[in-house]
Structures are given as structure tokens and as C-alpha cells.
Symmetry: D3
Subunit: 239 residues, 6 copies
């Protein structure tokens, strides 16, 4: 596969400014709900992730296939060598927490390549070292074992399942403390614009709530609140 | 339902001083064990929770019922608008972690109402924002999706199941790093008094253990240790 | 049982210097994979554990057996009174998280005895207090209930299962952020020596990766890289 | 609650003739997917279930509430005494398989009342006796313990969750070897008509497949196959 | 260990006549609830099991311990060679379904020894052959792999956990379609007598229910029903 | 992909004569253990399966991808139209039991094509109809919903994971009451020969056990038993 088209820097900035919860809500509003990578958490509190998916598929350990695919310059190492700036490596590990799926040397290579993050629905070796690196990593937890305990590294740049969601190479990946989601490329511009607008509106609503106003009529806003909001925002009311 | 009777401020202070583990032990001593809300953890380390239960029941997503009950001024919003000072909102989410069950605007409303806390056996949206608010929240984790992904907000102020335990409106809820428990109202005075007494005794035992004394005879205390304890505490020996 | 043979202080130092992931890899290289205690996490971030296993076996609560084995100076208290310097108490709790398996007084006794750590595949009472003590504790989480809610403390110094792995009294236990493993005594010297050597090599590889070298040929090292490594390390090349 | 409106006998016959899989597909075609009671299986192979839901809600065992609600003429017994002809008792047991949720005497009462079936996402006591009775029962399996081991019988004729789906009193319940589904009352006429039509069409397609025709163009039918089908069925082609 | 005391033949007959559900209820009435071996099912429908427990403990696979304990004349084979008439082999397999825990040759040996049954919370190899033998076997299901895939056969005639319940050598084991329970030896006479009496009473109640009488007042019986029952049974009313 | 090389009829007969447990043991003896498709059971008791794998991969439902891949002549239908005589369709459904993964029309097409079986780690629609067809089907159970409830049919004739094991197109699949295993093509001749030889030996051992001989020395056979066995079998003893 040729590398996926990179994210426009301005789009990337706007995605970083939008909470994952807000992006998720906009996808739902467009009929897309099957895009949460369930269960993964950032190794470092406060981590924020945005980038373009590069995918890596592991299969269940089968001893004969590990001989042919597990060792040497395998699919895992190839992808970490090839990952590009702004890309996020997403690993299918079938939710199996009984081994690591990457360690500190692999993570260091991703940093050196300028990757934007790593997401795995398996474990991470060298958890503390990896958590301290200049790259956001989302995983199910730590595990000391090498991946060959339960996985065969198989192929990369194919469509995968991760955390119960389907990820295609080139999809946009966004993560924060709430979790990680997938944004289909064709929707990303529309979704981020709507999410940032909603975020501004929600911040205004939150300020009203903090002042003591009830949710009733305010969240969602009725006509009165909306006209007050739009007046304050300098937005012309819709005709 | 009329709002439950508030907690007496002095009783509340004493409950805050008693570890949840100690309260749990006193309930067990009175034959009550089915009162642990399993799996929930505080969003902010060190959080301490005491208050009176207000309950909120979600049901599994069914598209036709979401139309009638999910949107607008639903049961969730009504309860957050009505919750009173010192009350704890307890949410039945059936342990389903595939969506949020509240977000930052709802949590802000609970803060504005003076609520004493929130407990949910589901996820929380806007995890970082909510964790930073002036209210203890105990949950299974974060999730970016709105509740409509898996829930229909149904009703409030009814008896619910949360984390595998039954919660009635008006029950006393207590939580700390060990977890969250339910204290039936009729037992709270007796249980907190006994827990604080036991806590004092345990602290004295812990000091002896720290000095190097063995557990044997000391934990639980035999007659010798008890008389020494009571002498030091100025408590007249029984009998 | 007589107390297990203590760890040689120098060996202990070397074990503390070796990451658990590295020790795990060396065991795998010798055909030993069934040695991960799955799911346990340190109560205090950054905790590092090395010691000799003392084992404690709990059985599922059966009311008639709790009468005979649960109370008074039971197997749990006996072991905490007997545990020696440098020993690690490992508890079989069958992965049941619905109660604590030890609390602050027990943990304080382990500290007073100079124990090197505690590992339990159950919960911990008084989580915050225990996390603050001068002993590393690895567990599945906190729980306020006493162990009698789901366990009968049964016996100690017998072979047990913990976190899906078999632990014998006298085994070496090592833990860090990646998790906890068991090292059979007969392999410990060989494994730690190999792990430290590999760790040095991996650190050198990591430095090359940080400089921007690809994994290809470097990890694992081909002949060129190895000769460069050995030249820098002052190690004579093999024949 | 007054008893729900009974099923029209002709409608009931048509529902019995329609496979649950076909009814499920028609609900999905109308945007309703959250209607599968997951995991329940018929105690007797070949059982077929159709009726109107009567609901029964159990809550997790809490010793103090069992005293007030568990014994005597409790919610469970009241509903079994009141259940009417053609009605299906649906029990919320939270998927807990560690006790029975009904036994042979209760089941006999349901038979005597002319009930159309029982569905529980818990266990059944006296499994063999109950399986032999003249009533279809769908459950998670057998268990010898009485419900008080893990449940408090709480209330009936309220909206419940069963097998991860929401059930309202008066909903139509249909079950066969594929599982059990809920049909909202307002959709039942339309859904059963469409399911029977689709079933006839599918039978015709299956006959063509058995003759050796490929799925391509036939399933779903293209214009050629459809016109052949309609010709054979004597159905005028759509203009 | 010396073989446990055998069951008196008359007691055995009475146990075979008592449903497991009834025995379970009597144990609960005496405060004993932690005696259900969860999840096990008979390989052959209609199987009925009564006997004296002989226990067998497997531990999680650890390659070095499998060398010392797994092969040759191991604990598993020793117990099957030693099991006596009327005894039930109960195996601790930790609920792991990823291997068999016995196969047809072992089962044939148990038959030849006159054993009364086998219970395992793991899988069975040669499922069809074993199901056809003259011995009731309760298990979690079939699996083709030998036990060494996940277990080390460790020891026998020790206290074990099976299906989440504690079993001691010499305990009475009873199983039918509802599941398998453990009856502490000291309670067996009292429990079976009470269960048979209750069974007779329940049969009479069931007959009244079949005649159309409501549960109200009948189940449990009020004074009127009880006097009618005792009159029919020829039992003098209690003064 | 071109269709995989068919099984030689004689090899197929010998595979059908060998129990899956015996084949599994021979694979283990050659270092291959990761070949059990966990959890699947035959829809019809007594079913026996042998054939060459054709693979089908489903991915988690993502609404945008279902539009492009879910409907019409999708990967599922293509494979069922193309499957050849003696081939076994193996479906990756990620163990998700919340929908069917095939129904009666698809199964009928597989029968018409002469397929040797179907294995899915998901559910089956039209369970009763499919169970009655002239093809062995192994699945996790029944479910009325169409696959689009949780899956996108994605591609076929690629390497997949099914029931926790990796399956390649062209692998040999064998199933019976014990479960389903994968035999790498390169090992099948050797494994079946050894399994049949072992089966003969085990049958002889079983006959001796039935006569009352102990396992000790017989299972596995010591030199005496082996020489007796070889004498009876007319096999020359190994020099």
C-alpha cells in the first residue's frame, strides 16, 4: 500500500481542539456509531491523540505459522519502520491481554518516525518506559511477555478489528481520556466543524448551568435560550 | 416522590470520618452483605463520598422506546434538575461500558444543585472535565458515546440495581478508594458509631503491630491486649 | 514447612535491576511461559517487587468450613506473623474481586516482618492506607468487604494458583509496571544474568533507534550491527 | 395494572407460523434491532412460543430487602396467580445463573392459568419436571438453588430488562430454536404479515437453491427471478 | 489418605430419590449456601449422581512443573486406579474449558472400579464415548486436547475448589439436571430426611395447583391447607 | 484465490475414522497446540466433520462500511456460491453471539455445492432447519438476527481467526463431539496415520481396563504390556 494521504495541519489542529466525545456525537448524528475502540486507555493521563491510521494485524498463536511469520523482520517491525509522520499505528490483538504487543524499542522507532500515536487492544511491554515517550499510546494495560506468547504478527495496511471496531488504513483516529474513536475520512471535515461549533455552544450552556440555571429548556436549548445565545455570540438568528 | 430526608450534618461528618471498609464490616456483623456496588472507581484519586441516594434507571436501548423516552427533558435531566443538597445520584446502567451515562453539563448541574456525588455502573463522557469538578464521581470508566448508544433513560426515584447491588431512594451511600457501599437508613446511626469505635481500636492495634507485636492474640485482641487497650483509652473494663 | 532459603543480596540487587519484561523473555527462551500472574497491578505507581514466595490459599466461601477455618488465628494471620525478610506473600483468591483479601493491619504486620511484597489475585481493603505503606502490593483492585464474604482462609506454604499461574513456596517473584512473574529457583541465576546482558544490548539498540536507524537489521542485530556493538562495548567478537 | 389486551387468535396463529428469524428481519427493516433476549434457550427442543408479555422484576439479593419482599405471597407468586391465558411471563434476573428463578410448582400454576410461556434470563429449578410440562420455557439453564440465593422478587407488570433487551407489559413475545424476541404491539400486525410473505418467498428461493441455482441474482432476487416467482405465485407483477 | 467412609446403601437410595433442588433448599434452611458446583452439566440427559467425594487438583500449566508432575503415573491416574465403589471423582480445573481433564480410558477405569460418578469444572475428551459409559459424568463440555495443554495434574485427596465451591474428600456429592451440589457429611442424614418430607409435601401441593388452586395460601401452606394436607396424609396435626 | 487442492478420498476416509481427540494429541506431539476452534458445538448430535478450509471474514459492524460491503452479492454469498465439494466454510465472527452468521438458504447452497461442512464462531439463523440439512454445522448457538446486526461481511479466502485459532485457506478441518481442530496440510498424512495407530492401541488398552486391569503400567504401556500388545496384534517387537 502507498502511505495514506496525510492530515492537513489545520484540520489536525482543529481535531486536537475537539473533544472525542463531541466528535463521537457528530458521527452518531450522521448515523455512524460503530466507531469506538472499546476498553483502551492512555498509558499517560492527559494524552491526546489525532492521526491517520496505519493498521497491523496479529492472529492467534499457531506454532507452525509463528515459524514462518513470527521472527526476524516481521510485519510488526516493517510497519514500525515505515510508519510516517502524523500516522497512528492501530493493532488488532483481539482483546487478548496475555502478552505485550509492542515494547520500548518499537515505540522508540515510532517516535523517531514522527508517528502520531499507537493504539492496541492488547498489552504493552516496558509500560513505564513507553508511557514516558513522546508519543500517545492507548492500550488495555501492561504485560511483560513478548507477543509470540499469544500472537503471530501477520500483515499490515489491511482492514482490521480493534477493540470491537473496524479500522481501515487511512481512517482518522482520535483519542483522549474518554477513549479512542475512528472517523471515516469522508466525514472528518464536516464532523470536526460541527463538533467545534457544538463545543462552543456547550461551553456557553455549561456557563449558564454553573450560574444555576436548570437544564430544562437550556439543554437542549429552547427558542428563548437559543436567541439569547445567538445574540451573545453575534450570530444572526435563523430567519 | 418527595425528596428523601436529608442527612443530619453531624451524622454526615461521622460518616465521612469512617472508612468504607469499616462501615462494610459493621453491616456484615449485622447480617447485611449484599451492599457493595461492584467495580466502580473514583474518577479522582482520594475522593470520598457520603450522601443520600437519588436513583436513576436506564434500560437497554430499544429504538421505539428511545423515541418516546430518550430525548428532550428526559428522566436523566429531570433528576439532575431536582437533585438536592447532600444527595447522591446513583445510576443503573447494567454494567454496560459501551457509552457514557452522563457528561460535563449534567455533572455541572449536579454541582450547582449541591449534590454530594454521582455513582454509575456505566461510563462517563468528558471524563477529564468531570473528574475536575467539585463533586465525587464513581464509575466504571470513560466513554465518548452519548447514552443513547446503549441506554434509554427511563425513570427515577425507584429502586434500582447498580453494580450488582440494590439501591433504594433514601439509602445512605458511602464511597472511598475501596469502593462504594449502601447503608440502609435504619442501620446508619448504629453502623457509623460502631465503625468509628472499631476504627479507633484498629488504629491502636495497627500501632502495636508497627511496634513489632505479632497478630496472634492482638488481632483480634485477647483479654490481655483488650485490658491494656482499655486502660490506655481510659475505658472502664467490662464486668 | 521451614522457611524458604532467602535470596542472596547480590542476586536480589541484580533482579531489581532487570525489567520484568526482560526476565520474562529469558524464561520464554528456556521454554517457560506459564509464569505470568495475570491481571495484578501495583497499588502504587512505580512499585518494584523482588522476593521469595510464601503462599496462602483461600477457598470459596462455604459456611460450614468458615466456622472451622475462617475466624481467630487463621491461616492468613499465621502466615503474616511468620513471613520473613525478603519474602513475598502470594495469595490464591481465584480472581474473585468481590472482597478484600488483606487490609491495613495485615499489611502493617508484613512491613514489620520485613516482607518484600504482597501479590493477590483478589481485592485489597483499606486500599489507600495499604498503598502508602513501605511494601509493594500487587492486586486486582480495592474492595471494602472482609475476605469472609467470598473466601475461607485455608492453608499456607502449599503450591497455589494465582492469576492463572502456579506458584510454589520458594519460587522467586518479580514485579513491576508490566506485571508479576514467577521465576523457578533453579533458573534464576541464569535468567537474571541473561536478562541484564540483553538489557544492556537493548539499551544500545534503543539509542541507535533514537538516532533514527531503522529496525531492519538492527533489531534483532545482524552481523554488522553486532560487530559495531561489540566493538563499542569492548567485547571481543566471537571467533 | 389491568391485564394486557389478549392476542387475537388469528394473529396468534399467524405468529406461530412465522419463524422468529423472519419476524426479527422485519423488525430490523423497520429500524428496530434492540429486541433480542440474548442467551435464553428452550428447555425442550422444538418449543415454539407466542404470547403477550407479563413482566416480573427481581433485584440483587440484599438481606434487609429480602426480609420485606422475599417471602410469603411475594411478587413472583402474585404474578403466577394472576397470569392470564395466552400470556408469557418474562423475568428480569440480570443474567445471573447462580440460582433458579422458578420451579415446578410455579410452572404448574402457569400451566393451570393457561399461560403461553415463560422466559427468564436466570436459571430454572426442577429443570426436568418443568421441561416436561405443557408450557414452553426459555431460560439460561438449570440451577438447584431457590431464588433467594441471589435475588429479591420485587415487582411485576413494570418495564424490565431481560437478556439485554427491554420488555414492556403487553409486548408480543415470540420464541423458537433461534431465540426469543420482543415485538412492539403497534408493529405486530404489519411485521407478521410481511414475515409470512417473506417466508413464502424464501421457501421458493430455497427450492431454487436446492435445484442447484446460484445465490447470485436469486438471493436477493433480481428482476428476472422476481418475475418468474410472481408468475408462479400468480401474483401480478408490479406495474 | 485412607478412603473415605462409604455411604450407607439405604442412605444412598434415599439421596437418589431426593431431587437436588430439594436437598439444596434444606441446606439453605440450615445456613449452607456455598455448595453449588456452578456450570457443570450431565453429558447424558437424565443422569443422576450420588456418591462420596474423592478429589483431584490440577494447577495451571507451568512447563517446569509439568515435567515433574505431568507424565507417567501421575496424580490423575493414581486416583482413577484407587477410586472406590460409590465414590465420585471431583476435579478442580479452575473452569478452564480449553482442554479435556479426562478421556475414555480414564472413565473406563472409573467404571471398572465401581465409581459412582465424575464431576469436573473443565472439559472431557472422547465426549461421545464417555457419555455412553455406565457412569454419570458432569462437566463444562467436550474438548479434544489432553490436559497438559492447560493443566498440571497435581495431587488428590485434598480440599479443592470446583465450579466455585469447596469440596472436601468425603463430602457427599449429588447431581441431576439442575446441577451438582455438595452435602457436608455431618448434615446428610438430616438434610435428606427433610428433603424427602418436603418433596412429598410439594408433590401434594403440585397436585392441588394442577387442580387449579391458586398459590396464595397454598404455597407455602397456610393453616387450612396444612390441616387438609395432614388429614389426607394421616399425619396427626401438631397440637 | 484458486480453490484449494481437494482431499484425497482415501485420506478423507482415514480422517473420518480418527477421533478429533486423537488427531489433536498427534499435533501436540509435533509441537502444534494452537489449533482448537474453541466453543463451537455441532448443531446435530453425532455430527462428524472433515474437509478443506475455505475462509470467510466478517468485521465489526460499521455503518459506512456496511453500505459498501454488506448488501447485495457480498463476500458471504460469493463464497457460498463458490465453495467446492469436500470444502468446509470457516467463518470469523469474533465469538459474537448477538446475530446469525448464516441461515437456511445459505446452508442449502452449501449442500447443493457439495460442501463438507460449516464452522462459525458466531450464531446460526433458522437453527432447526439448518440442523436438519445434510451438512455438519458447528457454531456457538442460534440467533434470529441477520448478520448486519453486528457484522460486515468483508472478504473470503484469506487467513482468519475463528474460535481463538488461526485458519488458512486449504487447512484441513476436523470436527466431532469434542470440538473442531485445524490440521496444517503438511502434517495431515503423518498425523492421521499416527492417530489411527494410537487409536488401535488405545482401544486395546481400553479393553484391558474394562477387564479390570489398573492404569499403572498399562496407560501408558510399560514394556510387558507393550510386548503382550504387539504379540496379540502380530506386530514384531522393536529389536
Amino acid at each position: 500500500m502507498t502511505a495514506p494521504h496525510p492530515l492537513d495541519p489545520d484540520l489536525r489542529e482543529r481535531l486536537l481542539a475537539a473533544p472525542v466525545a463531541g466528535l463521537s456525537a457528530q458521527l452518531r448524528a450522521r448515523g455512524i456509531q460503530g466507531v469506538s475502540i472499546e476498553g483502551v486507555r492512555p498509558l499517560r493521563p492527559g494524552a491526546r491523540l489525532v492521526g491517520v491510521a496505519r493498521t497491523l494485524r496479529y492472529l492467534p498463536l499457531r506454532e507452525d505459522l509463528f515459524v514462518s511469520h513470527g521472527g526476524g523482520y516481521n510485519a510488526q517491525k516493517r510497519l514500525f519502520d515505515e510508519v510516517g509522520e502524523g500516522e497512528v499505528i492501530v493493532i488488532e490483538a483481539r482483546g487478548d491481554t496475555r502478552s505485550g504487543t509492542l515494547g520500548d524499542i518499537l515505540a522508540a522507532r515510532a517516535v523517531a518516525r514522527g508517528a502520531a500515536g499507537i493504539v492496541t487492544d492488547g498489552g504493552v511491554r516496558d509500560l513505564e518506559a513507553v508511557a514516558g515517550m513522546a508519543i500517545p499510546v492507548f492500550a488495555l494495560g501492561g504485560h511483560p511477555a513478548v507477543l509470540g506468547r499469544v500472537h503471530v504478527p501477520w500483515e499490515y495496511d489491511v482492514t482490521i478489528a480493534c477493540g470491537g471496531a473496524t479500522v481501515q488504513p487511512g481512517d482518522i483516529i482520535a483519542g483522549d481520556a474518554d477513549g479512542v474513536i475512528i472517523i471515516p475520512r469522508s466525514l472528518v471535515e464536516e464532523v470536526v466543524t460541527a463538533a467545534l461549533a457544538q463545543e462552543a455552544e456547550d461551553a456557553w450552556v455549561a456557563a449558564r448551568v454553573a450560574e444555576g440555571h436548570p437544564l430544562h429548556g437550556l439543554f437542549p436549548m429552547n427558542a428563548d435560550w437559543r436567541s439569547r445565545y445567538e445574540a451573545e455570540r453575534g450570530t444572526p438568528e435563523k430567519g
